[in-house]
Amino acid sequence: MWITLLTAVAESALEQLLNKEPALAVQLAATQHKTLAVTLTDLELCCALHYVGEQQGKARCFVYGNYQDQADCHITTTLSTLQELSDPSQLTRLIREEKLDLEGDLQLAQSYSKAFAGLDIDWAEHLSTHLGDAPAQLLVAQCKQAKQRGASHLSILKRTVTQLCQDELNVAVHPLEVRQFKTHTRQLAQQLAALEQRINALSEL
């Protein structure tokens, strides 16, 4: 039931997006009444997206969880590979590298990928109806700055962690060395035991 709830939330969010960004609905026109299913092998989950088109002046779509039926295009991949799909030109490379399995209409996958990759939401425009022009502009500018700062911090953190790992790798003992050390220790323990037995034998005399 959680998947059903999540797909309901996703569907509602996507419909809001489609209605606020008419350009997206236009780009998805070619996918009308076609179903794109995505199976994520690492999550053992199959979701599907079905764009219905405009109904009573509103763009409508369906997001299915645990989809079991035939889709016009069915992609089988992992969650990490799915993120690479935001660039439509990567699709054929991913198929060639067997990171992704695609059955059905390739153009449908490319249309969805292209439509979402080219999405440029004007948040200030949408927020201005609730907050007014100036506060909306200010809020969006602050968010963009925060995002840039966050990305910069993340990049520094990544570099630092990578450097630390590399430094640690340089001084870390190799597994073969550990195994050799263990063998030596075991041999020494055996020699010690033998020596102990000899001392005991001698002291009894």
């Binding site: 039931m1 309901a8 009444h33 219905v52 109904q55 369906f62 969880g65 989809y67």
Partner: protein
Amino acid sequence: MVADVFHSVAAKYDVMNDLMSFGIHRLWKRQTIACSGVRQGHKVLDLAGGTGDLTAKFSELVGESGQVILGDINDSMLRVGRDKLRDLGRVGNIEYVQMNAEALPFPDNSLDVITIAFGLRNVTDKDKALRSMYRVLKPGGRLLVLEFSKTDNEALSKLYDFYSFNILPTMGKLVANDSESYRYLAESIRMHPDQETLKSMMEEAGFEQASYQNLTGGIVALHRGFKF
């Protein structure tokens, strides 16, 4: 008796559904739609469709080239459903037909999908209704039965019984001014066949690959069967 129940509750049906199930009935219906495989151009029958929740979604999925028939034996429910869907602007590919599930007024092999959500337990001769549904489905078509069922979780079962026989009629009295109808609801749920029995009934009617999935711990089950 059943007809009187639905005449009585028709006006407050949607409100009571949301209240009684805490809105979860929407998720159960979503799952039914996800399992329906309905596509553009399909002809769908939403049997015992009541106030048309499933019909509204199906009408979008089948598009202008498809058709959805909202069928119910009760004219009050049908009227409420028709008014609601027209208010939502859903016109053009929906038909409203008062019908008896035991004798569906359609030619053989004429429908792609039939759904019956929370309706089968009110049908007098369930076997006859299932045979009738099988007859009108096209080869490759499917039937989906969304219905209250039996939970095998003892704690949940006790809680559910208390809720059904004590809280539900009180809610019915307060909101719809009708406690008897909601007492009937609780009793009719207990009389309805359990998951395995209903699956066998579907198989006996001719359905193939009959299966079911429990929703919300088995309080509700979604049965699916195909005609090949």
